[in-house]
Symmetry: D2
């Protein structure tokens, strides 16, 4: 009988970073995919990621609405709680053999908590990385609840071991997000922006453009409006086309969105297009052909390393993260952001780096799970003297 692998996809970022694994599970003769789609992946404001999932041929086993509206610190906590309640009921129905949870978001933690208490082995990707924001604490807490780890880098593996994880439970596979980059045709189709209309000016794919993603930093809640305004001023000053993605659902998102809407209302003819979402492959094409990726999304650091695309990382959200040579950092200061982007725009495309994976992660992960039959539910610290 095949093993049931339950993947919980909760956001657009989640999906791109696990899609190739989902495919590998589907194609593996000994594995069966159970798919739960929840949280912001269900919401129109975040681009109806579930539509992309279905278009890709994955039919969710269940969907679960778990976002308590408010986009502040309190509702982020409450959404975590609601997610646990709902996921527990679903795991009870679905009886998976493994539950896989991606990275470091509150929904990721909800998944790990529910599965842990229910004696279902927890599989975790992106463990051992360091970043900033509350994600940093949450990622490591999830590690302590997880039974199998698929870190993306050797350095991440090292940190997992130092935190006391059993080396036999840690597999450096790279990140499945790189698989998409490796496998897809990343040339820019002339109609990319006509297919993916945003709010604002339509982008001309024949003219250089930058991509901007700046999410709230929950540990700096209340400063988001000020932070995004620095970026808005800098990007506006570039006088270049910009493809701007709305922020994710974290606490503080609404004040960032409000600034973006206000900017657009007052600058309707700025050459900026605001987008909710792209398909996983179109997003890969988008950044692969960008002149620079700006903001604080980890994709500037992770995916752009693989592609060799210049990135400017702003502020603290990714401040601690391991980076390739393609990344320059800037503080929340419009001048410095502007100068740093200008520097990157002068630069050549960087050499592609396999720092975060070589494009085979999904398949490797599926093979490990197929071969794993005796997970001990009882975790223990792996320090030799404990």
């Amino acid at each position: 009988m095949s093993k049931k692998i339950c993947v919980v996809v909760n956001s657009r970022a989640n999906y791109g970073r696990i899609k190739s694994f989902m495919r590998a599970v589907q194609e593996h003769p000994e594995l069966e995919l159970q798919l739960i789609v929840g949280a912001s992946a269900l919401l129109f404001r975040f681009g109806n990621v579930i539509d992309n999932i279905r278009l890709d041929g994955f039919e969710p086993t269940a969907i679960v609405y778990s976002i308590v509206e408010g986009e502040n610190l309190t509702t982020m906590a409450k959404s975590t709680g609601l997610g646990i309640i709902e996921l527990a009921s679903l795991f009870e129905q679905m009886q998976p053999d493994f539950v896989l949870t991606v990275a470091d978001r509150f929904e990721t933690l909800a998944t790990a908590v529910a599965a842990s208490y229910m004696n279902i082995p927890v599989v975790h990707t992106q463990g051992g990385e360091v970043s900033g924001s509350i994600d940093e604490s949450v990622r490591h807490a999830i590690t302590k609840l997880s039974h199998i780890h698929f870190p993306a880098t050797e350095k991440a593996r090292d940190i997992l071991l130092r935190m006391g994880e059993d080396p036999n439970s840690v597999y450096v596979t790279g990140c499945p997000a790189m698989d998409i980059l490796a496998e897809s045709d990343l040339t820019l189709s002339p109609d990319l922006f006509e297919k993916n209309l945003g709010v604002g000016e339509v982008i001309d794919p024949g003219v250089p453009y930058v991509v901007v993603l700046q999410h709230p930093v929950t540990t700096e809640f209340g400063e988001g409006a000020d932070q995004i305004n620095h970026t808005l001023v800098a990007v506006n000053q570039l006088k270049m086309q910009a493809v701007w993605l709305w922020p994710n659902v974290d606490a503080g998102s609404d004040s960032i969105s409000k600034q973006l809407r206000t900017f657009h209302e007052h600058n309707p003819s700025a050459p900026i297009s605001f987008h909710r979402n792209f398909s996983v492959e179109d997003y890969a094409r988008l950044i692969n052909n960008a002149a620079c990726v700006i903001g604080n999304s980890s994709s500037g650091i992770r995916e752009c390393a693989f592609l060799g695309i210049p990135a400017v990382n702003i502020g603290s959200r990714q401040a601690l993260r391991e980076t390739g040579p393609n990344v320059l950092h800037a503080p929340y200061d419009s001048d410095e952001i502007y100068q740093t982007v200008q520097k990157q725009l002068q630069s050549e495309r960087f050499k592609r780096s396999n720092l975060f994976g070589n494009g085979t992660a999904g398949k490797q992960m599926a093979d490990v799970l197929a071969a794993t039959s005796d997970v001990s539910l009882q975790k223990r610290l792996w320090y030799s003297d404990v």
Copy 2:
């Protein structure tokens, strides 16, 4: 203005292990106590711990019902989720400066998750200890969400540092449970058992007795009935008086309780008395005068070390825990349990050990919090090379 210290008490075990700190906060001129009482501490089946709390002069700021009934793995997860939802609303109202969470239970995790996402510094006791069961994973996950650590032992401190916690955030204070033992008159009042009537025979305080506490092991869910029956057979065979506490609220509790009730129904005249709860001080007196403490409660290991009381630890729940010389281990086997208890009954009282504290933990902790004014919400791994 005084700092608001919010303590969340969720079970009888929680309360005994934090009461002296609550007192120290109340008495500290620069601190204000906010008290939330929730989960099983509100339930009759677990002895209405809230009544003891009120009798001790603490008036809860709020109470919160958060146990989803069922006592299985699914409801344990769901109770965690409901706890997070409720605590987030309360923290929003109460705006504490610190939230303190005790040990490693699901309510403890709920507290840490809610406070973390709400940017309230999390203070954790009992971090860095090793045990067994899901508590083991959960304790370390809470560590990764916590900003200030009050481990009970040097060894626990060492583990916290190895897991990447900042040494400046770690204070070895001992466990506040020892404060109660150090400060109270622990002689056995002749009317202890008349004041605290259980179900079954009334215990004669003039005659030796053992104390039994055996909780479910959630990572071995489904085996609780068999496990407790071994203990019942062994204790019955002792032909001694026994004071037996009903198990806690963890998954599997009901099947243990069922065996205890069935045993009592069929052996109404066995010299065993079944109890829901004792006041913190009466519990200290109870174990201080016991011939042996049997089962898998950590109090056999922690409090009994301080008192020098012989203890027999059964099974895996505390298997990994640091112990003093007063502890012998036995597997789930009635013969071995019986033999091990007999061996302990021959033994002298052990030398008192300060392994888990010297009786001043509560006051030390209050002083640290009063002196702490600049907690960084942004945690980071403290490895020198990260």
Copy 3:
């Protein structure tokens, strides 16, 4: 394509009153049964009703833990809320054509609220009856949310119409509980009480016995202990065998249970046996052969009317209810209860009454739903001048 009829069973009382309908749906070529089992029907303390359901050959489509423990007014409200959250997710997955909800409990209301908001036609049994307690208000509120009504009596139908329900949506089918009484062999098997062991003395089926069920009255919360003690004194004074069922999960249940346990602990040899649950058919046999049914369960009034069994109804919970000649009322007073039971014990068995149905309700209801294809989701008051 067959219509999907979702039945939500939440308690032992629910199940007996809908089982024959569930069977009729299963057997109907145009209907498909979706079964959700939740709330106290899943709990050991209430007799694991789900085991009876499975033994009867019904496999739940989903189960849902929704009882917030505490058995007080606050947790009753919270359990309603948790039930709505969970049921909404299940209805989303199951996409039923109709949702059937039984009677007047908080879980019944949760079912009606979730289905109403989700535009799923709500089918309600036992509407239009009058009783007492909060059930009285809740039953009528559910009526206002329901699209199809299956009242048990003509008088109940009349009340539904007077409250403004469309006569075309009201079908007097009788109560499915009567179907069980009509179809089953109700002779007392000699081993009934050996198969169904309770706590306390084993009942001798060859000797007369009374049956007692007394639930909390939530609108009189806080008076339950006093109320039950009157009944305990009266029943003890009878010096007859008594089969006593533990109370349901409503607010105040724990203080009733506590009195029962205390009584049993102090009167271990009283000829009373305390039971969590019987199968639907064994319960029918139990009351069919009882000398008298005592307490405040509606089965004393409804099922006992059909069977002609004398009943003594105590207090306000059913005070307003339509009754047959088999019922006498008594206040919360041990003497009056005792005297009233004595009077009933002198009486002959009463003539069987079809007041609450003739034993064909389940089949009638299934036929109505199979024939109904155009329910208007938009309800409107049916007063001729509105």
Copy 4:
């Protein structure tokens, strides 16, 4: 000791319809106001109604985030459940003597359910009215849970009695929304639209304008985009200034909002301004000076009757409602909407009507509650023969 009156405000519509009562409670020597603000009244997307509440000098006793994001039928049900859970905890803390709930929304139902089960007398406004949508069923269900009724009209009182409510519990006070209209200076300040900037063109107060509010009809879920487009076409064809309020939080709201945003994106210079919210008094000024109020908000029917402002009611949401002479109806058809608005624009201002109150409702209601001391928690149908 004064009586604690807890008012739960959940939306902008709620607030305008209860504000004068809140003031009357505050000013009453025997009453104390407890204020809970929750649901969409806390959300930026709906205009941060809580800011208006605070500006008006009311400080919330507690706030409660209870909207599960998604704006569909499932999340509307789930938001109801979450609201019940949260409100139960708050009522437990606040121990009100009465809970007042406004009208017919899902949060209104949540309030009534929580208070009912907790034995807190429920006070209900707007009972007995007829409208359409799920609100129609929900309003009557709330009536069946309520202990004191403050209907706005004699006809509504008549319906309450016919549904079985006790005449002694019913007080026709009119609706408190009229109090605002009666007491405020409703002249149009020249800077109204500069103070209340919307998205789109700034409205010139010196030139005639229409006001549009069109909410989703949950019982017609899925048709909202089509419905709103008819209105957009009609209003655009008017070539008049239009002040358009975004829809409320009900299921289907997002598809209406999406059409509005798309229209604005493609018609940036249409003389339309889109608004989240106005203060209660500014909203009164807004409609008092409108040439016509268009859509399906009950304010077109209720407030506009008092003011004599022409209104065009579209579709089924208010189809059954009692109206004054100021209202004409139109189906979801752009031509008919256009023609009906044109007809109203030709019309004189209508005679002011006291159909929904004479402007003293809030004070009357406060006086009734102050004088009420013996509410029976046990409701019973008031039909003379039951």
